[in-house]
Symmetry: C3
Subunit: 290 residues, 3 copies
């Protein structure tokens, strides 16, 4: 039974992302750009600017990991094949007669297929990020986690910066640092692959790639089918928080700080408020704050 | 006839920018800084901050190309001669008794001479940028174009970021990405020199440097003489847009997008609206939108 | 008499910052973070974001100097011991039962001891910055001064950028470039150590480290005892300004610029207004503007 499994996971890990999975990734990224208000007008008036935004959306994670490792941020421009592919996707998405591509993309099965294939590329990016960072710092496991995370989910950071510079987005409060669900999932994957790389996890890389990708796909499909019931890590986060930060409740009793904003942040973020789950007698007070 | 031409262009390409052309470039840059509201007060109250802004204005293009190639952004500070020259220019511009330098600069012939000499340095910067990038990525022609562009016209990006950090400038909408005419001219030059470098253009480097510089000077002189009739690439851009994006008009008929802002962007930006020039029957509808 | 002095300064210069001085530095930095409005709530709701902010506060100077020298900004994450130490400090400061650490820190002697030890680390950072830059650019004394300054006082720049990205801070006017007193003191130290390194100052490194640290400690203790009488370099700055920029007053007579804001900037910044100290007859006019 092992051997077919080995064959399956090995073949899977050797699949090339080019061209089909890359196409799906670029398509989802450029469609996300297109759905921003005003992006179509920008494409008509200033195609170069629109093309640049599209490249940042498609290659943002790689650009961020280059910046963090002091490699040239323009390195992605040397891969002419992928640039040509991404540019073609941008071109047909924005300038297709009768907007055929957008209309085709609006069908749910097409969206789910593209999103699923994009999630597969996420695994590849995390793995390549961890491996690349380990070539710089052999034992720098924190750096490996950070670079794996940047490659897998850093695109959002780069595009937010671009919007900030364009004046289309103003960070409000801690919005910048609220981790989206894809971001948390990528961090989890980065930790797992780093543990595997430093041989703290007794599983082979190809097996982990396969299992993690299956997990990503299941989560993505469920999220797209049942949009009104979001998936969060809340139960796990609650447990972790209780273990690590559980005595915060006593802290909040001892010091009433004027800068505590009880419920607003708690509902907005999907991280649970550890203070509300403090041990024992703190529970009643916690319920009042909720 | 060839030999005198060869001699002329060769001698021209071997001209050193130091010191006279560099002086002109620093003078124009520092005078541009001085004309910003509040800059004189800053120079009086916080000379170090004013000096830093002046350095960013003078060396901004080089700093940006260093950042894009992951070289130390402070590298420009190692060229002590140029730093001393630029600092001296800053000093006499801001602190000259009776503001003699600014008064002298207000004479049109002086401005035209300085601006013309600054345009000559633009050619040298583009060439050095393309050559430098090719030493990193031998076949990376997109990177060469980008670095040539950054060296030649990237100063505006760096000074805008500095103003953003200082709170003196807030990007509004797509202002950040509207390319100014110098920016477009630099991009054109960067493309030409890259094509020449990769031997896709059958012209020697010194000939191209000479011809491009003559073109820059003619354009600059005309712009300074006839300020109310701006030069744009609009005819060329219209043609290119029609060829590449011509069928957008059918697109706009099929989908009425609420984020289309018909005329305001068209007049503000010097890039023509390709949609208004769609083939055939689209022309009448285009005229209505203009 | 020399030998005990030599021994004293040599032993002092060989003192390791780890662990006690580093602990003091991390404690002061994390307490500074904790005193920002809303930081406690962030720590409860999004511990990862709070931890990241704490790391930026603790290692900001090193991160900035890495960026300026095109080294990986994540390099600080490879020093696992210091990361663990800083993370522990963050943990006990934010999550200690009954907030014991903050209460302990509120006692003046504890604050003074921690602040004094942090000032000692400032000397070490400046020295390591100057030495590190000299390994890149042997004769680049401006770069050495800049990197020494960045390491010693650059943390404020990094944390301001982080707050800017978070939306918690908007730069207003030239606030960004008003140098705080610690910043000026660090610049002075950086200049001194660079002069010593390039052998323009006839004093050994360990002697200079000792003397500069004593100076920092005296200044810090005096500032903490007499908070209402701030220390400035105003007398020295006045003298320097009069020498370098003294003739500005004639300039202001010749050109009345509408963007001169006479008294507001002068009182806000601790840099004197050189124009108010112009030679001779300019004094009366200066007094009117003050």
């Amino acid at each position: 039974m092992d051997y077919p499994w080995e064959d399956l996971t090995l073949s899977f890990s050797r699949t090339s992302m080019f061209p089909f999975f890359d196409i799906a990734h670029y398509l989802v990224s450029v469609m996300a750009l297109k759905q921003q208000p005003g992006s179509v007008t920008v494409a008509w008036n200033n195609p170069l600017s629109s093309w640049l935004s599209a490249m940042l959306h498609c290659f943002g994670g790689g650009i961020l990991s280059c910046i963090l490792l002091a490699e040239p941020p323009l390195k992605f421009l040397t891969n002419h094949t992928n640039i040509l592919l991404a540019s073609s996707i941008w071109y047909i998405v924005f300038f297709c007669p009768r907007d055929l591509v957008s209309q085709g993309y609006s069908y749910k099965p097409i969206q789910m297929l593209a999103a699923g294939m994009k999630e597969v590329t996420r695994t590849w990016k995390i793995v390549s990020g961890v491996t690349h960072a380990s070539s710089y710092y052999r034992n720098g496991w924190i750096v490996m986690i950070a670079i794996g995370w940047a490659r897998g989910a850093g695109g959002a950071v780069v595009t937010s910066c671009e919007q900030l510079l364009r004046g289309d987005w103003k960070p409000a409060g801690n919005e910048w640092l609220k981790m989206s669900f894809p971001s948390k999932v990528t961090l989890l994957g980065s930790v797992l692959f780093t543990l595997q790389h430093t041989q703290h996890l007794a599983v082979s890389k190809h097996d982990l790639m396969f299992l993690y990708t299956i997990f990503l796909l299941m989560v993505k499909v469920r999220m797209m089918i049942k949009k009104n019931i979001p998936i969060t890590f809340a139960p796990i986060e609650d447990t972790l928080s209780r273990m690590l930060f559980g005595w915060q409740q006593q802290f909040s009793w001892a010091e009433k700080k004027p800068d505590v904003k009880p419920s607003s942040n708690g509902t907005a973020s999907s991280v649970s408020k550890p203070t509300t789950e403090g041990p024992g007698a703190a529970k009643r007070h916690a319920k009042k704050e909720d």
